[in-house]
């Protein structure tokens, strides 16, 4: 009965997926519930901000720089056809602030900090460090998960801003310094086109949402990982894949809500 088996397997996977979504939601709720102690001991969050935020900075800035440089080149080639080279600054800035900054920074964050969080927590579980903490009457969600969650949520918008800033500089370098677009036009068009609420604030909201989603996925996958080498490796892979898909899907939803009719 191959057909019955296929249906059974699909059903099993669907139930499993719903079950995991439920577990992840419960995990997220518990993380929020036990966040109080993290804020009372803010040094825990600061320590995690260093490992999730500061240590991701180099990759974010370098990637931002190159993305901005490519935007400068491609944008110039396209705008030149319409005689609108002077709009290069606004094109680079809007692309980065609205879309590429939050999305690419979040994808890089998921690969760099998200995978590290999953591996770290998965390994803590595999080596019984989480069980040891529970046996010491210390809630691991409050002590391990919540500080990392808030560090991820706080650092993501900052990293996205850094990415956009580096990208704008990359676009400026290629467009103005290398190709020779007028510097005044580049900056003034950018200043005129970019709206604080419509563009920058929406970009910040996006990166905040991405930071929340990526960090919850990374922490949940680590916490839920089977305590074996294969389990941790599988969880790390799932973090990157699930986070990346979640970022892209969420980006579409948020873009549709934010920029509808503009």
């Amino acid at each position: 009965m191959p057909a019955t088996n296929t249906i059974r397997i699909i059903g099993h996977r669907a139930i499993n997926a719903v079950w995991r979504i439920g577990l992840a939601s419960r995990f997220f709720f518990l993380t929020l519930l036990y966040s109080g102690s993290s804020f009372r001991r803010f040094r825990l969050i600061i320590r995690e901000l260093f490992s999730t935020g500061v240590l991701s900075l180099i990759i974010i800035i370098v990637a931002g720089l190159f993305v901005g440089m490519v935007l400068g080149l491609q944008g110039y080639e396209t705008l030149k056809r319409y005689g609108s080279e002077s709009a290069l600054g606004s094109m680079v800035a809007l692309s980065l602030v609205r879309e590429l900054g939050p999305v690419v920074a979040a994808l890089l964050f998921a690969s760099r900090a998200g995978s590290a969080m999953t591996a770290e927590i998965g390994l803590m579980k595999a080596t019984e460090q989480i069980s040891a903490m529970e046996m010491m009457a210390v809630n691991p969600i409050a002590r391990i998960v919540a500080p990392r969650f808030w560090a991820g949520v706080i650092s993501m918008p900052l990293l996205a801003a850094m990415f956009s800033a580096a990208g704008i500089f990359g676009g400026y370098f290629v467009g103005v310094v290398q190709i020779g677009v007028d510097e005044g036009s580049f900056w003034s068009q950018m200043q005129a086109a970019v709206d604080f609420r419509e563009d920058i604030l929406n970009g910040v909201i996006k990166s905040f949402a991405f930071g929340t989603v990526v960090t919850v996925i990374a922490l949940f996958e680590g916490y839920d990982a089977p305590p074996t080498a294969e389990g941790v490796s599988g969880a790390t892979t799932r973090t990157v894949v699930t986070s990346s898909l979640a970022i892209l899907m969420l980006d579409f939803v948020l873009t549709a809500i934010m920029f509808r009719g503009n």
Binding site: T127, E128, Q129, A132, M135, M136, N139
Partner: protein
């Protein structure tokens, strides 16, 4: 101190513990022995409150563990200590911070007093000089001793040891065994050691329980165990290859597997 009555536990429908009864008096040091998968660690996890029985109960200090809510369980766990199989030291903290962890989490002691207490605990296990090292810089035996110092950091009334001798060289094994006995007597605590190591544990414990397939098959003082004529105990204590625990895993007929005609 610990009273276990008719303790039953099953994963799904597979029974792991069946009708376990134990009485562990205050101040005693007992060993629970048996083959891997016989339910020893599961029993320990019931005493620590990590698992709930399907029937029966575990009482510690007069309180039924599975009836406690999370706050009650955490209060109880502050009076317990558990040494995990490979120490479960927090790998992102130094030896000093590992031992100080519970003091910082559960007490308002000033840092100067914590400093003195940590050094005293480390001195008791002979590793005062390692306080600034990271767990990755310690040998297996040293990790176990640091974990022991961390376990007794708050002078628990009940100390549980999950395979404390696993993977240790003969000197470390003897040192850890000796420390378990000395710390139990010095703290006036009650200790439960789950182990495979017959010779070392028979040297230090007051009473031994043998488990097989989720039930207690034998018990007695170390001398009674050494002199036991029960097949299972005899095979285990003397490390015999075949006996009630067969050498061969059950399988098809050997001749059938080799395609031999009778």
């Amino acid at each position: 101190m610990v009273e276990i009555r008719d303790l039953n536990f099953a994963y799904d429908k597979r029974p792991v513990l069946e009708g376990i009864n134990m009485t562990i008096p205050k101040g005693s040091l007992i060993a629970i022995m048996g083959l891997s998968g016989c339910g020893k660690t599961t029993l320990l996890r019931h005493i620590g409150g990590s698992l709930k029985p399907t029937r029966g109960y575990v009482k510690v200090g007069g309180q039924v563990i599975h009836e406690l809510n999370q706050d009650g369980l955490y209060v109880m766990r502050r009076k317990m200590g558990m040494l995990f199989q490979f120490g479960a030291l927090f790998t992102d903290m130094s030896v000093y911070d590992n031992v100080a962890f519970q003091m910082r989490e559960h007490t308002d002691l000033p840092e100067e007093i914590i400093h003195d207490l940590v050094l005293m605990k480390l001195h008791a296990v002979g590793l005062r000089g390692t306080y600034s090292l990271m767990p990755s810089e310690l040998s297996g035996g040293m990790s176990r001793r640091v974990a022991l110092a961390r376990t007794v950091a708050l002078d628990p009334m009940l100390i549980m040891y999950d395979e404390p001798f696993a993977g240790l060289d003969p000197i470390s094994l003897s040192v850890v065994g000796d420390l378990i006995r000395r710390l139990n007597d010095a703290l006036g605590a009650t200790s439960i050691v789950v182990t495979h190591d017959v010779q070392e544990s028979l040297k230090i414990v007051d009473h031994v329980y043998f488990m097989a397939d989720g039930v207690i098959v034998a018990e007695g003082t170390p001398d009674e165990i050494r002199a036991s004529d029960k097949d299972y105990v005899h095979q285990f204590v003397h490390g015999e290859m075949d006996g009630p625990v067969p050498f061969h895993y059950p399988g098809r007929d050997y001749r059938q597997d080799l395609n031999l005609q009778v």
